[in-house]
């Protein structure tokens, strides 16, 4: 990704300047996925008439946001060179903690919400600490936590409630307030937009700022690029990695709270398989599986693409038996566009 030599002083060759700007823009990691997302959007705009309505867009954005809120920290973690397979079930662990604690002890639901945050951050800390301390691949460590949480979710819920789903907490103190924060909707020009969409975009902006403008952002790229040289130049590797895992815990907590306050109860067996969707969202969004490269805004488009394809197929009214196959083909297609843009633009 070399910038072409600047034109000499006094020369006013507009073309060179323009092209270099274009090349620079197109070579950015999030541009490929942006074009892919636009392509998918235009495709469904033509194929599925209901997508043209604003309320359909609100629905697609809602679906994307519940994926995207976790995809952003997963992407940051991936830039930092690590994986988290426990994020999907971590969402449910968080929701279960809040729900069962508040219900069983008859507490204000905010107590449960805070306790769930502590638990989620602790899971993140554990993952990060294990990875840093043992030097094992995060794939293995978080595969372990993924399985542990899956079992704990079921067993503890069954032990505490006697059932495999939690009790309805919608009539408890603080529920309405918490619902406003995590699961309400806004009326924008007659269209109901879910609050998660705003949180998603806000988190994306914060993450972008942190990644681009702060020392922590530099550390993230450094530990993902080369851990040892990062340590050599004084980057606190352990702190950076552990905190990145804890950020994933935060994302999982947030979506867990959304699920709890929008559905009132939690099914303990859910969340399995979501971790791969988060990771795909980050990869489609231009983050390298090997770390050290990526953005926070790319995964926003990655998650949007997932939501768009998933809902677009339904809006288009296609044969539902083919659903998963369509999803796979569309995603592969989008990734290929992404790759092609990257290749052609950086080659020059």
């Amino acid at each position: 990704m070399k910038t072409p030599p600047a034109s000499g002083p006094g020369q006013s060759d507009g073309r060179t300047a323009q092209r270099s700007l274009l090349v620079k823009t197109l070579a950015r990691p999030e541009v490929g996925v942006f074009l892919g997302a636009v392509a998918v959007y235009v495709f469904f705009l033509i194929a599925a008439p209901p997508v043209r309505e604003a309320s359909a867009m609100a629905n697609i954005l809602y679906q994307s946001s519940t994926l995207g809120i976790v995809t952003i920290p997963v992407a940051l973690l991936m830039i930092g060179g690590e994986f988290d397979l426990s994020a999907g079930v971590g969402v449910i662990t968080s929701a279960l903690t809040a729900s069962m604690l508040a219900y069983q002890l008859t507490l204000n639901v905010w107590v449960g919400v805070v306790a769930a945050l502590v638990v989620s951050l602790a899971i993140g800390f554990f993952n990060g600490w294990m990875v840093v301390r043992t030097g094992l691949p995060s794939f293995l460590v978080t595969l372990g936590t993924f399985l542990i949480l899956q079992g704990v979710n079921l067993a503890v819920t069954k032990l505490v409630t006697g059932n495999v789903a939690t009790d309805d907490i919608s009539d408890m103190d603080g529920f309405d307030q918490a619902k406003k924060v995590f699961a309400s909707s806004f009326d924008i020009g007659g269209v109901q937009v879910k609050i998660t969409v705003f949180w998603w975009l806000l988190f994306a902006i914060i993450a972008t700022w942190v990644l681009m403008r702060t020392r922590y952002g530099n550390w993230t790229f450094a530990v993902g690029g080369n851990k040892d040289s990062a340590r050599a130049v004084g980057v606190p590797v352990a702190f950076t990695k552990i905190s990145l895992f804890m950020l994933v815990g935060f994302g999982a907590w947030f979506v867990g709270m959304h699920q709890l306050f929008s559905f009132n109860t939690v099914q303990s067996g859910e969340g399995v398989g979501q971790e791969l969707i988060y990771i795909s969202g980050a990869v489609i969004g231009g983050c390298l599986l090997t770390g050290g490269f990526g953005t926070a805004i790319g995964p926003v488009f990655g998650a949007f693409m997932f939501g768009m394809v998933q809902q677009g197929i339904v809006y288009a009214g296609w044969n539902p038996d083919w659903f998963k196959a369509f999803l796979g083909v569309m995603l592969l297609g989008a990734v290929l566009i992404n790759l092609w843009v990257q290749r052609t633009m950086t080659r020059r």
């Binding site: 629905n59 079921l154 907490i169 699920q259 303990s268 859910e270 539902p320």
Partner: protein
């Protein structure tokens, strides 16, 4: 010595203070409504216990982890085991090959009886044959109504999924539905497909299938919303599991649709939704009864040589409809998680 204890007690003071403060804060944060405190302490009828010799029975199902439905089956089986002085070994795996291994495992343990679900009958044939040659009685439950005799099982307890689907379709005709969408939470599941097929067979209006990702509730919600937006003529949403029905109600509201919601299977929250009228009706296959009867039948066979269904006919536990007219009678049992 003195100093040590002194410094320790001094160090203890802030800890105790923090703990006390935390306890006070928690007490101050208690909810004045809902929660465990308001839950009625429904007493389980303390049943008598059989004095027959202790026996061991294995229940092997194709449950996927955390499914509310299977939890009820298991509770029924546990209740029967407790009454009949049976040691119950419960195991489950949704993968047919693994389930077959679990049956083999039960045979190796030389249990006195095996109750098994036949979601994929062919895969279980080998293990069931081994159980029979080891003289272990085998009964079927839940799925496999058309295969249990072929595999040589003694008895069967369950609901014919196609028959349930057909009954559902007829009920939809009665309530005047015109266009139904059948929401499948696990694409490719044989039983779920049979329900939708049965529904389509008897339903006189238009029906179609919608696949959703059952492990991700927000995605279920927005996919149903999308479907209702895509086709505004849909006037009934039929879900195949209770949690999905409750989500479908939210989708209907999000889509500004006038569609009504009905479902297969019950749970606690669903009964209250039926009494509130947000969900129209549910088809209950009485999972508790399936688990209970399967275990009890093995006890009867061992101690008195009885066959339920005479060894010829399956014992049908459904379809039973629950709607506003009879929900009150069911609700108090559903609240305990047994109906």
């Amino acid at each position: 010595m003195d100093r040590v204890s002194h410094s320790r007690s001094r160090r203890l003071v802030p800890v105790v203070a923090v703990a006390a403060a935390a306890a006070l804060t928690l007490a101050g944060c208690s909810s004045s409504s809902g929660g465990k405190k308001s839950e009625e302490g429904g007493n389980n009828a303390s049943a008598g216990k059989a004095t027959t010799p202790r026996m061991t029975v294995a229940l092997v199902t194709h449950q996927s982890p955390g499914d509310t439905f299977w939890d009820i089956v298991r509770k029924g089986a546990e209740a029967a085991a407790a009454k009949d002085n049976i040691k119950l070994i419960y195991s489950a795996d949704p993968n047919a090959g693994n389930q077959s291994n679990l049956v083999q495992n039960a045979v190796d343990q030389k249990v006195d009886g095996i109750a098994v679900t036949l979601a994929k009958p062919d895969a279980l044939k080998g293990a069931i044959d081994k159980a029979k040659s080891a003289n272990i009685p085998v009964v079927g439950l839940n799925s496999g109504v058309s295969d249990w005799k072929k595999l040589g099982l003694m008895e069967f307890f369950g609901q014919d999924e196609s028959v349930a689907g057909e009954a559902f379709g007829k009920k939809l005709n009665e309530v005047g539905a015109k266009h139904v969408v059948c929401v499948v939470q696990e694409q490719g599941n044989v039983g779920l497909t049979q329900r939708c097929d049965g529904l389509e067979k008897t339903f006189s209006g238009k029906s179609e299938v919608l696949n959703v990702n059952g492990t991700d509730m927000p995605s279920v919600k927005s996919t149903i919303t999308a479907k209702l937006k895509q086709d505004s003529s849909i006037d009934y949403v039929a879900t195949l599991g209770a949690p999905f029905a409750l989500t479908a109600v939210q989708s209907v509201a999000d889509a500004n649709s006038k569609a009504k919601v009905a479902t297969f299977d019950l749970n606690k929250d669903l009964t209250s939704a039926i009494s509130k009228g947000t969900i129209q009706f549910a088809v209950d296959q009485q999972p508790y009864l399936q688990g209970y009867l399967a275990i009890d039948s093995l006890w009867l066979y061992k101690n008195n040589g009885n066959y339920m269904g005479g060894g010829e006919q399956p014992v049908l536990t459904g379809p039973a409809f629950v709607d506003k007219s009879n929900v009150e009678a069911v609700a108090k049992f559903a609240a305990k998680g047994t109906r």
